[in-house]
């Protein structure tokens, strides 16, 4: 999927443009070194910046606003730490394990050929989904780094307000290594358009489609969150004491930054500044809009007042659900997907959670897990050309292939199942391990005092 080009894009384009015809004819296609289009490169640089914005400050504040002020810094710290430690891991070995060929284990994980980013230079290129279109490999690495960094940070919300920082400091890098990287490899690794027949990851080979990470990021983190909430246990005073968001202002701000950043997340996943990226972009605006309205409608039907937190949560659920579908659905399809995700996640965060009684502090499972599942399976439906979707490009045929909603939904469901199992089992094992080593949970006094003081020796506000 990568290619070493010996010259910079622009010179090559100009050179080829200006080249005397005879020479151009003589140079048949293979002689032309691939170059990155500057427009694509510009877009991927920006998309990376946008996804970084999602984690810190976006997700940090979205989550932080929802906890009580005595735990504000603990959540911010956990998210910032996740970003920092994963960024380093990604360079050391994460990128290599996720995005190189893994030999015998290739169905599940990559190899160490590019550990320490060995061999990557400013001239290295990564192929996009269009044959012959490349972006600088460093841009691809950085873009994928931001995905790897936000996913474990999402889990934090499920165990917030009671897990020890030490436990997370150990768990997050382990989880990225043993859960995120393999799932990313299974879903996303392939040979690229120029080698589409090469061995790919397990779920990719199965034909599952996931435009920007519905399974890899959201179901993965959502399920890990549920497992975490169950293993760490309920907060002291859960269901007895007032546990209300300490600043919905920060939650709105965080959600707004998440939304904006998500445009880079989804439309950047096109890897090109193309019409397809523009489709993903508009879908990433209208699906959450629909989902916000869906949640508000569900609230009104449930005889509650329409709430800002509801609209925000709905919008995030819509963003989650449209993630796997962004480049496949029509805008109308995306709106419908959003509406449904908004209403279903409302049910999950209220009825379902209450019935099962787990304490998923910030509804990571209810929004990312359930929203991710709605999106992953819904993608099988809205991607259908019969419903205005783009269908799936068949690289062998060089055209969009035949599409059967039923069979695609089946494939999608299988991919969902594999992700759930991998994440649930992997997360459970790692959490048990961490519990042994450092203990997962703050003691009662610390939890009462708040993790900000007990874990970090600081307070968020001094007014």
């Amino acid at each position: 999927m990568k290619w070493n080009a010996s010259r910079s894009t622009c010179l090559a384009v100009l050179a080829s443009a200006l080249m005397p015809a005879g020479v151009a004819v003589a140079q048949t296609t293979p002689a032309i070194a691939p170059v990155a289009d500057k427009g694509d490169a510009a877009w991927m640089l920006v998309a990376t910046a946008l996804v970084l914005l999602m984690t810190v400050p976006g997700l940090a504040l979205f989550y932080g606003g929802l906890v009580r002020s005595k735990n504000m810094l603990s959540v911010l710290m956990q998210v910032l730490y996740s970003l920092s430690v994963v960024a380093v891991i990604w360079v050391l070995y994460g990128y290599s394990l996720a995005f190189t060929d893994g030999g015998n284990l290739n169905a599940f994980v990559g190899g160490l050929d590019k550990a320490l980013l060995r061999g990557v230079t400013v001239e290295s290129l990564a192929e996009t989904f269009t044959k012959g279109v490349f972006i600088p490999e460093y841009a691809f690495i950085a873009f994928q780094l931001t995905f790897a960094a936000i996913t474990p940070a999402l889990i934090v919300g499920a165990v917030a307000e009671r897990i020890r920082f030490q436990a997370l400091a150990l768990f997050l890098p382990l989880w990225v290594t043993f859960v995120y990287v393999p799932v990313a490899h299974m879903v996303w690794f392939w040979g690229g358009p120029s080698a589409f027949g090469a061995p790919a990851g397990f779920l990719f080979s199965m034909g599952a489609i996931d435009f920007a990470g519905g399974t890899v990021v959201h179901i993965n983190a959502g399920v890990a969150g549920l497992v975490g909430a169950l293993l760490v246990g309920r907060r002291l005073g859960f269901r007895h004491e007032l546990m209300v968001p300490h600043s919905l202002t920060m939650t709105l701000l965080g959600a707004g930054l998440l939304w904006v950043g998500w445009l880079g997340f989804n439309a950047g996943s096109a890897l090109e500044a193309s019409g397809g990226a523009a489709l993903a972009l508009i879908n990433t605006i209208v699906a959450p809009a629909g989902a916000a309205l869906g949640w508000l409608a569900a609230e009104c039907l449930g005889r509650h007042k329409p709430s800002l937190l509801g609209a925000i949560t709905g919008a995030v659920a819509g963003l989650v659900a449209v993630t796997p579908a962004a480049g496949y659905a029509s805008p109308c399809g995306a709106i419908v997907l959003g509406l449904i995700a908004g209403a279903v996640c409302y049910w999950a965060c209220t009825t379902l959670k209450n019935r099962l009684g787990y304490d998923d502090s910030l509804d990571v499972f209810g929004v990312h897990g359930i929203g991710g599942i709605v999106g992953a399976i819904g993608t099988g439906i809205v991607a259908s050309p019969a419903l205005g979707g783009t269908g799936i490009f068949d690289y062998a045929a060089g055209a969009v292939g035949d599409y059967s909603i039923a069979s695609q939904v089946l494939i999608q469901s299988k991919a969902v199942l594999v992700t759930i199992l991998w994440s649930a089992i992997g997360s459970a094992i790692l959490l048990k391990l961490v519990d042994r080593v450092v203990g997962l949970r703050a003691d009662n006094d610390q939890e009462r005092e708040g993790l900000d003081l007990s874990d970090h020796g600081e307070r968020a506000y001094n007014v």
Binding site: P245, H304, L309, T313, C349, T350, T351
Partner: protein, 112 residues
């Protein structure tokens, strides 16, 4: 000397202060408090979780005064803080044994 303590609604503060200034009350101290009483609180809902909040924000005003003025102060507060709706609040009178002005060290009624 007496300490007159009144619990009132926030939006009556300006009126009460004006009424007290009319009486030549030279000072008062105000605290944000939460009140529980006949006035009902409200319900908040966050992602479907309902919380009944029974406490209502109120202001507490404390005026240290010489005894003679106490009744006038009570009357003035009663008149200016009243809206006629449940939750208008209370006035309590308690004894003060001594008062000192920190700046000057004056004591007794001179300190007020």
């Amino acid at each position: 000397m007496k300490l007159v303590t009144a619990i009132i609604k926030h939006h009556r503060l300006d009126a009460v202060r004006a009424a007290l200034v009319e009486l030549d009350v030279s000072g008062m101290t105000v605290t944000e408090v939460s009140g529980y009483g006949r006035q009902k609180g409200h319900t908040e809902t966050y992602r479907g979780a309902e919380y009944k909040v029974d406490f209502v924000p109120k202001l507490k005003i404390e005026i240290a005064t010489r005894e003679e003025l106490a009744d006038q102060i009570i009357a003035a507060i009663t008149a200016s803080a009243r809206t006629g709706q449940i939750g208008d609040g209370k006035i309590l009178v308690t004894p003060i044994e001594q008062a000192i002005r920190i700046r000057t060290g004056e004591t007794g009624e001179d300190a007020l």
